[in-house]
Amino acid sequence: MDPVQAPGVYEGAANVIAAVMLLIEFGLLRQALVRDQVRLYMAQSALISVLAIVIAADRNLPDLYALAALSAALKVVAVPLVMRRLLARTDPGDGDEAQGVAGSQTLSPASAVLAGIVLAAIGFFCFGALKIHGPAAPALALALAAAMVLVAFGLMIVRRDVASQAIGFFSLENAISLAALVVASGLPLILETAFLFDLLVAVVVFTLLIRAQHNRSESLSTADLTRLRG
């Protein structure tokens, strides 16, 4: 058996950041209010930028500094701003919004977190077993990213309001960004930027549809969207 070696700075940082991001994902799952979910999403997105800077410094990839800045501008500033304005616009002002969204969980918080733990374990151990690693790919961070992907899917499923489902999708995108940074940090900047631009357009479309939904039903809840059965 190989002796256990201490991870290098990059690998250690990647693993710690991935673990904290997964914890934040659980926070998103647990948090009842969309406003607080937006804050958690900001923190999670900021960590992505930090990881990009760590990788840029460790592996001498100057492109990643630009990516970190772009990603922070978009995910830490623009997306939360759009979501907050949307919430302010859809808040009737008497606390109903907070009430309505707090009641949007289809499972109790404890059950949702338990389901999240099961999903995270499946993602973590399945990806861990694949043993995908290279010089730039710490296997642990990748397994944590896979766990995050599944928990983000869980978040989109257990919430009944459109805003939380959208945040679930944005955090799914964060999980994929984490996997991309770990596995594909050398990907040309133009493609990374295109992915980010794409996210921006998706945010705009999500926002338009959320507003349309609110204008129609005076609510962010999807509980009434039961006419179509697939």
């Binding site: 694949l130 043993k131 995908i132 290279g134 790919a137 992907v149 899917f153 989109m156 459109v162 489902q165 959208a166 999708f169 799914l172 995108e173 994929i176 996997a179 991309a180 596995v183 594909a184 050398g186 990907l187 040309p188 493609l191 295109a194 992915f195 794409d198 357009v201 998706a202 479309v205 999500f206 338009l208 549809l209 349309a212 939904q213 129609r216 999807t222 969207l225 006419r227 179509l228 059965r229 697939g230």
Partner: protein, 491 residues
Amino acid sequence: MLGVILALLIVPLAAGLACAILPGSAKLSPVVTATSGVACFGLVLALVPAAAHHDLSYLSYLRVDAVSAIFLLATGFLYAAVGIYSVGYIKHHGHDDRYARRFYAGFNLFGWAMLAAPLMSSLALLWIAVEITTIISALLVAIEDTDGAAEAAWKYVLIASAGLGLALLATVFAYFAGSQVLGEHYNLAIAPLIQHAAGLPRTPVRLAFVLALLGYGTKVGLFPVHTWLPDAHSEAPTPVSALLSGSLLAVSFYAILRYYQFTAVALGSGFPRDALLAFGVASLLLAALYLFGQRDIKRLLAYSSIEHMGILAIGVSFGAPVALAGVMLHVLAHAAAKANAFMGAGVFTVKYGTKQIATMRGALDLLPWSGPLFLLAIFALSAMPPSGIFRSEFEIVYGGLGSGHDAAAVVLVVLVTVAFLGLTTASTRMLFTPAPRSLSAAAALGRGEPSAWMVVPAVAGIAVLFVLGVHPPGELTDLISRAVAQLGAVR
């Protein structure tokens, strides 16, 4: 040819922007859209002879080979036919100028994104183009501003975006696999990945293929990630439904084919073919059963689309050259047939003022052109000779039997027959059951077509189906042969 490819990227984009921003564009938009559609189809036709003999690569991000040319042909034809059809549809739909402007702008941009996807040389750009098709089409699904449209659009954008999240993960693993052989600065180009596929690490490739199949499969409408599809198809304006069904699903399938190409070399063809077979049979089974008992004409056609996507997946899983030729032909024939069926359904909904099959009666009498054309489209979708789908499904089944996939070929034939029964039962009721006196007496239901604009493209579609079934042009046969060689250049 660079000029042609650039024009294909610029013309529909310019048309979309013109419809969106030019003053007085509500009046000009129909002309701009129809012209842009016909021009793009002409441009695609101009690409065919060259793509049938060699691959075209330009500016390091643009590439057309025979496989992409097939999908460009399907999209180009639909963009033109449905663009012309839209002129009559929007005129008779009674919407205001603002709606018309938004519709035409979205329609052209949707066409642009679907034409751009097969032109992209890299898996990353392909993903971005497919994501753009989702974003634009979700807005087009929501454009009717009804409860149903809002619900369908939300379901669509959420499910399809989640699926494309998986596809993005597939792209990341494809990069990881490629960078092991091609170096850190590999830009996800498709051609070198296929060229060096034999040396790719197996686990990341396997993972990338499964994620791509599930991710892009969400947009193809493969079971069990198809649930957005019937809702979006039924709630979107009919021209958009025609594009969604005939072209968008195929473009997403094109993305899966690209992953199939390098996976089959890297892992051997057994694994990807088995995965495609499982998803294909499950989709076909679901669609064949759901075709019975549909009450909404557009949902009926949406399930038929799931059926045909299942057939495509099964055809690729057979792997025999003749089956692959059938798959390529099926992409073209299904695009023409399904667009025709949707265009007919659009005429029916305008005529009867409803999407409910139970209310549509005596269509063959009331609609002298659209009734028979819809019947022919349904026959074509049911693979009756001499339509192109008969030829393509025959080739697929023949290829399956010839390559030792007897059981799968038999299952395919049985399920296609079940689907035929479901499709024709509903259609027969609409077309042949005489309209009740109360219905036909209504002034709106006099005998006649709502608009010639809604008939002409359907006639063209039937002509294309006939040509594909009886005697495909030589250039097209060359193109299909080359595409088969590219897809079948795997053991």
